[in-house]
Every structure is written in C-alpha cells, then in structure tokens.
C-alpha cells in the first residue's frame, strides 16, 4: 500500500470532525480506516483523549469488530463469503481455490502485497451465490476462472480502491 503513514495532524482532524456526534467511536474509526486502510497504533490514545475514554475502552471497541484492522492490508482486500447460501453453491471450493491461487491462508496478504484475503459471513448477495467482495465492489456467481481474471486485474492496478 502506497498511502504514507498518517500524520498526527491528519488523524486529529478526522477525530475532530466526528467528535461531537453522539456515540462517535465507530464513525471516527470508520473515517480513519477509510483513509488509511487500518487503525494505526497512534490513533488509539488520540481517540481516547478526544472522547474522554480510557485507551483500553477504545482498544476494546476496535478489537470487538471484525471490520476494523490493526495492520496495514494489501493494496486490495478480497473477502470470500463463507455463509450458508454461498456454501450451498460451492463456497468451500472457491475459498480453497483462492488460497491456492494466492498462495496464502485467510487473514494473510499475498507476497506481492496486492491482495489480503479475508472470510466474510454474508454479503447480502445470496441470490447470486457464491459471492466475493473486492474493496467496495461485490461480485456474484463467482467461479474459479472469474476469480483468476479478477486477481490478475488487481495485481495490475495500483490499489486506490482500498480507500474508496
């Protein structure tokens, strides 16, 4: 990922922009992850101070939710649905293919830094199973052949998509 490390001033600006919302923690975390692709260590004490929370409380919120990441992902995040509808349509084989093609397990990033592979429980695209999500785009009726074509495309692109 080419996005530089967040500057504390930029972090503070994002925190300030959402600080007064009732229940501001999630909106702030979303804004930070949308900007940098993950929640960097520097963010936690700054959020805690702004919201008058302990650092442990903020850490507790971040760690509770599957969506929030504490480490920098690859240029693209690919989620393979693991829920029942997709399982009924071959999601097991699709995930095995994804792992083999990328040479990684889930929650890992491919060696070229292009793709982080994650499991997801339901993308709400159950009428078009099996589904995957690439950054913010959902792809339905996914086949191993189409998956390979998609990954080839992702490897060729720089990855602005991850912060979209």
């Amino acid at each position: 990922m080419t996005t530089p490390l967040p500057k504390t001033a930029e972090l503070d600006a994002l925190i300030q922009a959402h600080r007064t919302l009732p229940g501001a923690t999630l909106p702030i975390l979303h804004a930070i992850q949308d900007a940098w692709g993950y929640i960097p260590d520097e963010a936690l004490p700054r959020i805690a101070t702004a919201l008058n929370l302990s650092r442990a409380e903020v850490q507790g919120v971040v760690s509770f939710y599957h969506h929030f990441r504490r480490t920098r992902p690859g240029r693209h995040v690919v989620q393979v649905c693991r829920a029942e509808s997709c399982l009924a349509m071959g999601a097991d084989a699709l995930e095995a293919h994804a792992r083999a093609t990328l040479g990684i397990d889930v929650h890992q990033t491919s060696a070229d830094g292009a793709v982080t592979l994650e499991p997801v429980y339901c993308l709400g695209n159950c009428a078009c199973s099996p589904s995957i999500r690439v950054d913010d785009d959902i792809h339905g009726r996914m086949s191993p052949r189409r998956f390979d074509a998609l990954v080839a495309e992702l490897r060729a692109t720089s990855g602005e998509g991850v912060t979209a």
């Binding site: 999630l26 599957h66 009924a88 709400g124 078009c128 913010d136």
Partner: protein, 516 residues
C-alpha cells in the same frame, strides 16, 4: 422520442455486471445515433435474469435478461429499444410468472422507480401514509399499526404496535427511532434491496414512527457489508431533508424528525437489538440484559422504538390504505405479507413477497424452479443461520409464525437457503456452532463457551469417537444453550444443529436402522 431503458443499480445486479451493461447500452446508442434515456432502477428481484434490462413500450415495460455487455449490439440489431423480439426477451415484465404471482405490498415500488427520485416516489403513492399520519393523533397512528397485525419482521415477530405504544406512553424529553438494518442472516437481502431500491419508503416509515411516539431523532444502523445501501440512504436522506420531508418541521406540520445513517463494523451480533444500541453508542456490541426494555430505556437510556427495515417499510402502506387492507392478507396471527428471499441452490433465486400461508414447496418449486444443480432438493434452512433445516417431508407446512414454531422451526426474516442432495448436514451443523464461536459477543457463558465445546463434540461425533456418549453430551449442551443464553445467538444456534441431527442422522454416522 428517446427510448426509456431501465438498468438496475441494485448491488446484486451490479455484482453481475449491470454497470458494464449500462455503459455498453449508452456507447452503442451513441454509435448508432439512437436517443436513449437510461434510468437506474432498483432490482425487480428476479436475480437469475440479472442484469435485467427493461424497455418502456406502449404495452408497458418489456424485459430482457440476463444481459451481458456483449449482448448489447445484438439487442440493438433486433430493435430491443422498441421492445422487439430477441432470444433474451421475456415479454412484459409484469407478466413474468415469478412476479405476476406475488403480492407486493412493501416491495410495490422496488424496481419500478429511480430510487433517489422524489418525483417518482410521489408519483407511485409515496408520502401518502405520512400525510395521513400527520392528520391523525399520535395514539391513532399507533392504533392503526396495532390493528394491522404487523409483527416484527426482523425475526422475533413481536407486535409492532404494542412496542410503539410502550414508547408513546413513556414520558421523556428525548425519544429515538432505531432502525435495525444489520441484515446479517445468510440468505436474506430484502432489507438491502429496499434500502437500495426504495429508500424513501424506509424514511417515510421511520418518520411516521417518530411522529407517532414523539421521537425527534432516528438512526439507521446499516451493516458495513452494505456500502451501496449506506450511500443510497445518505443521498436519499439529504434529498428528503432538502425537500422538507425531514427536519425541524416535517412536511410543514410543525413537528421535527431528523435521521442519520450509521455504519456497523462486521459484527453479526449487532443485529440483536440491545447489542445494536451499544454499538450506536460507540461501544462493543455486547448484549444487554432485559429488563429494562429498550422501549423504556433504550438508546442513550431513552425510550426507543427498535424495528427492522421490513417492519418500518410496511408502515407507510398501512397508514395510506388502512389497517384492514394490510390485515386482510395472511392467516392466523401472522397478518400481512412477508418478503421471502430465495437463495442458495435454486434455479430462480430472488425476492418473493407473499401473504403468510404460502408453503416452502410453492416457494422452492413454483417460484424457485427447483435446484440450480438439477439434483433433488434435500433441505432448506429457513430464517437465517439460527434457523432450522426443514426437510422435504415438511415442505408443505404453511409459512406462519405459529405453525413454524410448532415444527421446531422459525420463519425469522424470511430468508430461505436451499440445498441439494450433495449437502453434508453434519458439516452444516458444525458450521452453525463455528459461526456462533466467531460471532458470540462473549457476555454469557452458554453461548461463549458452549459454542466452542459444540464444535468439539460434533467433531468427535463425525470422527465416530464414543458416538453415543457424545450425542448425549451434544443434546445436553444444546439444552443449556437454548435455556441459558441471554439472547437468540446462543439460544437459537441449537436450532440448525438439532434439526440437522433429527432429520438427517445418517450424515452424522448414526445407523438409523439400528437406532430404530
């Protein structure tokens, strides 16, 4: 005159290439010098035909699908922009049997209109319910919802009107409407389709709820897996506010209602109402013990109406057409319609809104067209990952809250996932426990620890280790989870496990002949 062509912007259609189809139509029309007016609509819910392109003709809208970008030149050659015949043509959309046999009340507009066009919304009966609600006393609005028989569509089926009355009768300086749009159940997508295809309907329903109970602020909690629905709602709220349908004086009535969309963060448990409140407050999504009921002390400790998207979206019609109109659909204590969602291994997947009382067989065979694989259907899981697996011998039980409860199943949010005869039910039972391990909030022990032990016990049963003893242990464990969990997560995970075991014991290596 330019040809009016509809290309869906629903994320299901987009997942199959609708954006590329829209671009191809525009490009091809320009190259041929044909004037086209492309409207991006919601999905009609016929997903095996997506991307479903519709052309307006004097005889109504004509459907073409599934259209791929490479089909577009051929469609223009055939004259599809005048509604001409083509191998992908299905004739008038409204006459496609899958649609013609439905009873679309909540989904009346989805797929017909441009989701963000207020003019379209008004032209199709939008805000009629809100206008009626403004003219009524708040208690009369609540009474209409009670009289309609509407029950919570999120799955718990609690009478919506009674919930509203509790909030109305609880005095407080600030009350809230919280819409649960954390549609995490596998096999469900009706909330998403409505939020993407008819967002003003939800906005109208929430506004009516606000006026009825005296709440001035609403939140829609949308799951992070639905980025498209999130953006559609944000845009719709902005437009509704600019047009005066939201704000300090709703439609000039002098009473205020404001609305905000919040994004979840990938926690299934936040679909449980009190976990959702915690999340909206900025905390870990840990379930609260009840009482107090959220209707008395909910969001930020204030009286809060929490309803599912489908419940709130049913309200405008109930106000506009009257409680009796809605109540006349359905049977027993299950009144009105339910937007069922056909998913998994089916030829014709999609959205089927029908009155309660329809059977699984009708949905799977008449609407669904049988399995996509061509193999026999073996079972369907109804009501999400915490719902029971219903065997083919029970496909004729009418879908009704009480009759489903009587067979140890649940209608839930109306999601139906079909499996053919290649499914390994022991694996699906293990999956249910493993899902609970991943998604338990951790507050209560039966759910947090029980699910971990459940995976281990099922693994031992599958491996044939002391099968009799481990089956007894699993039974006891499920009993503990059912009776001892704080919410439906741990309390209903035994449903898929025990139904799989009961109806498909051979998949667990149990010798049914010897057991009999």
């Amino acid at each position: 005159m330019s040809a009016r062509i509809y290309v869906p912007i629903d994320s299901g259609a987009l997942s199959l290439g609708a954006e590329q189809v829209a671009r191809a139509i525009r490009r091809e029309a320009e190259a041929r010098g044909i004037a086209v007016d492309i409207v991006r609509n919601g999905s009609r819910g016929l997903f095996w035909l997506e991307t479903l392109v519709e052309v307006v003709t004097p005889q109504g809208r004509v459907a073409y699908g599934p259209v791929q970008p490479e089909d577009v030149p051929g469609l223009f050659d055939a004259g599809f922009h005048h509604g001409a015949a083509h191998p992908l043509c299905h004739g008038p959309t409204a006459q496609i049997p899958f649609l013609a046999r439905q009873e679309r009340l909540t989904f009346a507009r989805v797929g017909l209109t441009d989701p963000l066009s207020l003019d379209d919304y008004l032209a199709h009966g939008g805000f009629e319910g809100l206008k009626r609600a403004i003219a009524l006393a708040p208690a009369d609005v609540v009474q209409a919802v009670t009289d309609s028989g509407l029950r919570g569509r999120g799955g718990a089926a609690f009478p919506t009107g009674i919930k509203w009355k509790t909030v109305l009768d609880t005095p407080a300086a600030q009350k809230y409407i919280a819409c649960n749009a954390d549609e995490g159940d596998s096999g469900t997508f009706s909330d998403r389709m409505l939020m993407e295809g008819d967002p003003y309907c939800l906005i109208e329903g929430m506004t009516i709820a606000g006026l009825a109970v005296g709440a001035t602020q609403g939140y829609i909690y949308v799951r992070s897996e639905y980025p498209h629905a999130f953006r559609t709602l944000q845009a719709a709220i902005g437009r509704a506010r600019a047009a005066g349908w939201l704000g300090a004086s709703v439609a000039g009535c002098g009473r205020a209602f404001e609305l905000e969309v919040r994004m979840g963060a990938g926690a299934y448990i936040c679909g449980e109402e009190t976990a959702m409140l915690e999340s909206l407050e900025g905390k870990r999504g840990v379930v609260r013990a009840k009482p107090p009921l959220p209707a008395i002390a909910g969001l930020f400790g204030q009286p809060t109406v929490i309803n599912n998207v489908m419940s709130l979206a049913a309200v405008p019609l109930i106000l506009a057409r009257g409680a009796a109109f809605y109540r006349d659909y359905g049977l027993g204590r299950s009144r009105g319609t339910l937007p069922f969602q056909l998913a998994g291994n089916l030829r014709h997947t999609g959205l089927v809104e029908k009155a309660f009382g329809v059977t699984l067989r009708e949905l799977l065979e008449d609407f669904g067209g049988g399995s996509a694989s061509g193999r026999p259907l073996r079972t369907a899981q109804v009501g999400g990952p915490l719902g029971a697996y219903v065997p083919a011998t029970q496909f004729d039980v009418p879908l009704d809250y009480e009759q489903y409860a009587a067979i140890g199943a649940m209608v839930g949010h109306g999601g139906i996932v079909a499996f053919d005869d290649t499914v390994d039910m022991a694996k699906m039972a293990r999956h249910a426990m493993a899902f609970c391990v991943a998604e338990s909030c951790g507050k209560c022990t039966p759910c947090r620890i029980g699910s971990v032990r459940g995976v281990e016990v099922i693994d031992r049963i599958i491996a044939g280790e002391e099968r009799g003893r481990n089956l007894a242990l699993l039974d006891s464990l499920c009993d503990t989870m059912l009776a001892g969990s704080l919410c439906a997560m741990g309390g209903m995970t035994p449903y898929p496990v025990q139904s799989a075991l009961k109806h498909f014991p051979q998949d667990f290596g149990i010798d049914t002949a010897a057991a009999a």
